[in-house]
Symmetry: C2
Subunit: 314 residues, 2 copies
């Protein structure tokens, strides 16, 4: 589940999707409504699966800080949640063991096991959307750090004194390269007298936010402000990537999230030369692959399945 939508799949332990359900969520109506939506989605994919198949668990990736042991969602700003006992409620309603992880961490896990990171030993996942999150795989296993607080790559400061970030600091990469940051820059540009068709496209499509599809349309129409703003974001994503490669030296960095799903190479392409330029060890820099995620909206659900298998030891 993300901030605005939900993908439920019924999957085998090996990651084969046998049923699927996708829908918008209603976070504005409160946690109970969203949890009811999750329960209904789970029931739907269970109903669509051959009755001979037995379900072992419901595994969820939630957009926030979660606790694997208790199934608690401590804080999910994009949902407006605080201390929601998601796992407990799902177990009660569905009679299945519930396993709750972080959305970006399970996305990384999905891409590592079934997607663009297959075969690597060390991997970094960078997910760009409303926010900017990441996941780290070390020695084939998700890396969570000493307090479960690792991989908060979105709050790496790349421009001291730069734009304000939701976390309270300034100049975090999330405040420089997320879709939210790009929308802010577009609106600032327009307010300052720059011409742009972005707001027009949003109005025509009744979008209150600058979604990936709006960005795609503006780029197709060669909107100069949009091109400038996305180049700036790509520059900072290149710096972020190089910093992570210089510290973690993974075999592969997988880029996911709404912008990559929609724009693919058009978004990732310009990030690569900036990153390569800032790698410290250039001798075999090309051996580090910077690639788009493969599984689209299945990365999260399939990663949640992997997490569930790890927790249950199956």
């Amino acid at each position: 589940m993300g901030g605005t939508s939900l993908t439920a799949v019924a999957a085998s332990e090996a990651g084969h999707v046998v049923a699927e359900s996708r829908q918008k969520t209603k976070p504005q109506d409160g946690p109970d409504v969203v949890i009811e939506q999750i329960i209904e989605a789970a029931r739907r994919v269970i109903d669509r699966t051959e009755s001979s198949k037995k379900f072992q668990a419901i595994c969820v990736g939630a957009p926030g800080a979660t606790d694997l042991n208790s199934g608690m969602v401590y804080k999910a700003p994009n949902l407006g949640w605080e201390n929601v006992p998601l796992g407990q409620k799902l177990e009660k309603a569905l009679g299945l063991k519930a396993i709750v992880g972080n959305d970006v961490n399970v996305g990384t896990l999905g891409e590592f096991h079934f997607g663009a990171g297959q075969g690597a030993r060390h991997m970094v996942g960078i997910f760009v959307g409303t926010g900017l999150g990441g996941g780290i795989i070390i020695d084939g296993k998700p890396y969570h750090g000493s307090r479960g607080a690792a991989a908060e790559i979105g709050h790496t400061i790349l421009l001291p004194g730069g734009p304000a970030c939701g976390c309270g600091q300034r100049g975090c990469v999330e405040a420089l390269a997320s879709r939210t940051a790009m929308e802010r820059d577009i609106r600032t540009g327009i307010a300052g007298g720059r011409k742009s068709i972005v707001l027009e496209i949003m109005k025509r499509e009744s979008r209150s936010r600058m979604t990936s599809s709006v960005i795609e349309k503006a780029l197709k129409r060669k909107d100069a402000l949009m091109q400038e703003v996305i180049s700036r974001a790509q520059y900072y994503l290149g710096l972020l990537t190089a910093g992570l490669v210089n510290v973690l030296d993974p075999e592969v960095v997988v880029f996911g999230g709404g912008l990559i799903e929609r724009l693919g190479e058009q978004f990732l392409g310009p990030i690569r030369p900036v990153a390569y330029q800032h790698f410290l060890r250039k001798d075999n820099a090309q051996s580090i692959r910077l690639v788009p995620a493969k599984l689209k909206n299945h990365a999260g659900p399939l990663g949640a399945v992997v997490l569930g298998r790890q927790v249950l030891g199956i």
Copy 2:
């Protein structure tokens, strides 16, 4: 061994130092002279050890990119070395297995096993001196990444377009917070008309570089430019620390290198609040210890012993 000096110890497998030898090196005279110095230092500490003790290996930390398998030093800019077969030469001269690692990596390993990092599971080492280097311990083991190129924390860009770094980029933390960067800022300040006693102190002590002892004396005499320059370095070290904590979430960050050895808390103290302020998860931020290295110039030699034990499986 560092860029200018060499500490040799005879140590037990458990890290007890039984003999020691310290001296300045002569990198300007070429690799063979320095290698002869290492061989003599090793012979000295062997001679000073009870003859009943048997030596199993000579373990070295070299200031540059090294290869654990071949004992080759690929590149050590502070020594002016390129492709020096250090391990091979030591084995031939001493009749002992030689194990060659990177100085900062073995320093991290030493502090982890016998110093300030004891008991941690995940640790980061930050060493500030002529350059700025680091080491990473994950799950109790040194982390080297996919190409052995991990932990290059000195080339994290913290100020895009900032001062030029030896690596060819701009705004790396090494170009903002190393002793070399501080000396550059002092000289620039003085050239621009600022008053400072730093050059005077260097002259009086016949130092061509602004060593840690020069910095200490200037601070003791409340040199305003020195205070400004060191504050700036501390600010960037705080940002670097926070970025590493947000990504790696270790239990402890150990600060070592000449400046910490000389100034201790006076240097580390002001780094802490900047780092804590930029931690994303502040709830249990104080549980992450930011501490000075304990072993002083023994961190490297004892870490090299640990590395040797790991390689030899003893």
